[in-house]
Amino acid sequence: MGGTSVSTDRPEGTVGAKAHRHPNYVLVGIVLIVLTILEVSVISLPVPQLPFLLGFAIAKGLLILMYFMHLKFDSRLYAVLFAYPWPLALLLVGMLIWVYFGFRA
């Protein structure tokens, strides 16, 4: 890419971080699997489904984003960029749910 000449001995995010301990990815994976088991269990329980399912899904998503996709450790720019479309997506989904389901006679 264009731009100034670059020294390649400074890979991103590694100022002193090269020696950082990796998070325990396997542990995160186990938590994700447990959450999935909980999700599947919840649907046979007589509880309001949506809050639980949404909660579990969001938890799983955040774990994947933070740990596997390293958002917790990387430059905030990535998180900001990835966060940008979510209000728009929520607007689209929310508005259509409202229009299609919110006005049943």
Binding site: G3, R10, P11, I33, M69, F82, A89
Partner: protein, 193 residues
Amino acid sequence: MASHHPAVGSEIAVDSRKLGVWVFLASEVIFFASLIVSYLVLHNRVTSGPTAHEALTLTIPTINTMILLTSSVAMVLALAHLRDGNRRASIAWLLTTAWLGICFLILKAVEYNQHLHEGLTPSVNVFGSAYYTVTGFHAAHVAVGVIWILSVALGLRRRLSPQNDVLVETVGLYWHFVDLVWVAIFMVVYLMR
């Protein structure tokens, strides 16, 4: 080989290839949101043919969820090993990830086959249309991911330096994103049927 690139004029150390992938994934959020919302608003407007409740079972999708989650662990372990300088372990974990992705696709094909035999096709009713489209686009993304991972693994076998971790990291981001989308689809299509 294109070089890493600290941002000029600012203090952020950001790799332009990673940034590009994150930006692309951000746009994919809207793409899948559009497909998922189409599924949401249409899937129970059926007057004939199988409904979601009748046609969908949880066994295969749940296994597939476990498979994808495990594959994400494998993927991030591949990156970690590469960062620690262990190229061979990294390649092994990459191949594991790809293999798990293939398992996902095989099970998906089995599931589709089941559905087709039970009369659920894309054209039988709008639920069929929406179901195959949402899950089909996701599966296509998985397939692309598998090919991408395999080519990165192949490339790693030939030339390696610690800077190539960006190659692995970018395919990893894509792969985890596909896993993320599945988390949403699993909930919306299967758990909320």
